[in-house]
């Protein structure tokens, strides 16, 4: 079942012109069918590109439970008071009206890989010739002892966009004077590597204005984190004395929480907190595991086309995939979606398939007009998607560059969301 790139593209192209056409007719009584599960940065982009570039030759169904999609990326700007919640909200209307995508607001509950159908929570099933799976993340049970999903109201994760983000913001605003905010940071790998630290910056920004004697404590199981030098420089500059990070050397990886008592036990030391933001260890969205597409916590894919290494008819995008060097980010998922869309079109309609190129940039805001970024370009090899070049903002950059970087990030948000939703 393991495919290498050449075999895959070769058979895909050959099949498109000769073999798949009759098979497709049998399966779908007409045009080839692509089903996309998950309407985020990976899924929405893939659906839109397949619909847009196939000129109606492929039926595209997008299964996404929420009617208004709240991006997880840039939700920190809402926490920091820079953006309203509405800035993060997007609808699927244009994908349906302008691109002819069949948008189904339901949960995909299972995949029958032999019959090539997707079961829906609301009943019925949807057949596919190719399936694109972009379900994002779920949490590893028991990774933070004392915490489970039933505790997410007392101790929000706010690591999936929407109501959790709102809840965390409300809790920060309601903190008592001089109160304590504790973040339990996740172990690698996880969605949005700089995300927890940008979030701390944004919470500090709000507290500095409203509650300057409040404290922020990060319990962190990782030795190092993304853009560490840039964040630490910024915290010192803007929020001196407010933020304490407890790394693994001091027991930051040995954490137990008690949501009823609102306490966090860090290596035997009990912290009484007012807000506890638990970001647990993560794994591929549950449906990947349920469909037998995971090895360990993630779903392995071939970087040439993002096709699953365990099923040649399923492509897996974004955070859920184990592809190699790319970080789990909205930008990465969007980049991977375009490669997968091209491969799927090639396989189903015989359109041309070019060598995959990937890229990613992650912007973070540390304080007002103090933006930083890190990015890299990637290309696949037989083993994985490998980084080929990279850059990162430097410490000590002048204010004009930091402001331009922030403005650039806003431009990127507008760019990627119109690339996703049309």
């Amino acid at each position: 079942m393991k495919l290498n790139r050449r075999v895959f593209i070769g058979t895909g192209m050959a099949a498109a012109s000769t073999l798949t056409a009759p098979m497709v007719h049998a399966a779908s009584h007409g045009k080839p069918k692509v089903v996309v599960i998950g309407g985020g940065a990976g899924g929405a982009t893939a659906a839109r590109y397949i619909a847009k570039d196939s000129d109606g030759e492929i039926d595209v169904t997008l299964i996404e439970p929420t009617r208004s999609y709240y991006t997880c990326f840039f939700s920190n700007l809402y926490l920091g008071g820079f953006w309203d919640l509405e800035n993060l909200s997007h609808s699927y209307g244009t994908l349906a009206s302008d691109y002819g995508i069949n948008v189904v607001h339901d949960w995909a509950t299972g995949i029958d890989r032999d019959a090539k159908t997707v079961a829906l929570a609301g009943g019925g099933s949807v057949p596919y010739d190719r399936l694109i799976l972009s379900p994002g993340i779920d949490f590893v049970e028991g990774s933070v002892p004392g915490w489970d999903l039933s505790a997410q109201n007392a101790m929000p994760h706010a690591y999936k966009g929407g109501s959790q983000t709102e809840l965390l913001k409300a809790q920060v605003m309601a903190m008592p004077e001089g109160g304590t905010y504790v973040m339990v940071a996740p172990p690698n790998p996880y969605r949005c590597p700089p995300g927890p630290y940008e979030r701390v910056s944004m919470v500090a920004h709000v507290l500095k204005a409203n509650n300057p004697t409040a404290k922020i404590i990060i319990a962190d199981p990782k030795e190092n984190f993304s853009k560490q030098g840039l964040f630490e420089e910024g915290w010192q500059k803007h929020y001196s004395g407010m933020i304490t990070r407890i790394g693994p050397d001091f027991g930051g990886g040995n954490v137990t929480v008690d949501p009823a008592a609102m306490t966090v036990d860090v290596d035997g030391e009990l912290i009484q907190a007012d807000v506890v933001n638990v970001i647990p260890a993560q794994k591929a969205g549950h449906i990947c595991e349920a469909a037998g597409l995971t090895e360990g916590n993630w779903a392995p894919v071939d970087g040439a086309s993002m096709v699953s290494r365990l099923d040649e008819n399923i492509h897996i995008l974004g955070d859920a995939s184990n592809q190699g060097d790319m970080p789990k980010s909205g930008f990465s998922a969007n980049s991977q979606a375009k490669v997968a869309a091209m491969a799927v079109r090639g396989a189903l309609t015989g359109s041309r398939v070019f060598p995959a190129k990937y890229s990613n940039t992650c912007w973070s805001l540390i304080a007002t007009d103090d933006g930083v970024k890190v990015g890299a370009a990637y290309e696949p090899n037989e083993e994985k998607i490998a980084s080929v070049s990279s850059f990162v903002s430097q410490t000590g950059e002048d204010a004009a560059l930091r402001k331009a970087t922030y403005e650039e990030s806003i431009g990127w948000y507008e760019g990627i969301t119109s690339d996703m939703f049309g």
Binding site: Y49, D53, F331, N334, S335, K338, M342, R352, F354, K357, S359, T361, K373, G375, A376, A377, E379, V388, S389, S390, F391, A400, L401, K403, A404, E407, E408, S409, I410, G411, W412, E414, G415, I416, S418, D419
Partner: protein, 323 residues
Amino acid sequence: MTSTSGIFASVLGGAALVLGIAYGWTARDHREQELGALTDRIEQLESSNAALADQAARQDDLLAIVTELETALATALDEAEAARQATPVALAEPEPSAAEEPETVIATATGLEFGDPEQGEAVFAQCRSCHQIGQGATDRIGPHLNGIFGRRAGAHDGFNYSDDMAMMGSDGLTWTIETLNAYLENPKALVSRTRMNFAGLKDADDRADILAYLRQFSASPQNIPEAAPTAQAREVELAPEVLAIVGDTDYGEYLASECTTCHQQDGSDQGIPSITHWPTEDFVVAMHAYKQKLRPHPVMQMMASRLSDEEIAALAAYFAESE
């Protein structure tokens, strides 16, 4: 019971005797062992001493060899220098061969030099309608040019620059001999929507002269052309064959999907410039300027650096066709 105790007592006595003998034997044996260990250690030290002496001798040998080699090298260099001076026409620069990688057509040249400032003053006449320079110079249509060397682009207080020039400045474009040379040659290749309405000085000597003239009005002239990290290429004048590549629009369509993650297709330019309605040749030149790291933006340098000439042409063809 008693007989048992007797046996016990004698066993104990025997045991004590055995222990006593054993202790005496052990103590003596221990001293012998210590002595043996010391002897071994002395032997070890003696042999390592010998090894060190051996090493020192070899080091001396090596030093002698190095000295010998240095002498030989110096002699060879002297001979080579003498031979070079004896030959009036030194090794000529090889002509760039047609088979070379197309990328090398806009190869870097670190040896930019200033020309004649007096000639430069004459060339500058065509700039005076917009730019003042020298004592009492003020901003007119263009900014005054006193202290231009080392100044961040778009950063002179009080002058209303184009958005593109301001953005280039915040991206890190600084005026050096390299960047000014490129800008003077083709202003829009370096800064796409600059307000400087000037076609460019195509003659390299004219540019060298005018740069020499301008430099006289910079307080601390930066006569270190190789020092600016973002200015490695001398020019973005592309070979005709590079500009003539006919792009593959299908490939361009796929490659363009990388651009639209950031650049909006509707032409909005908040924070990130618009790339719609861009003349093909300007597009190609700009991408090569990023590829050569002449334009400073790190994301664009990275994206352009992995594009071949054909891929840049494919992108340009796609963008040209899609509008």
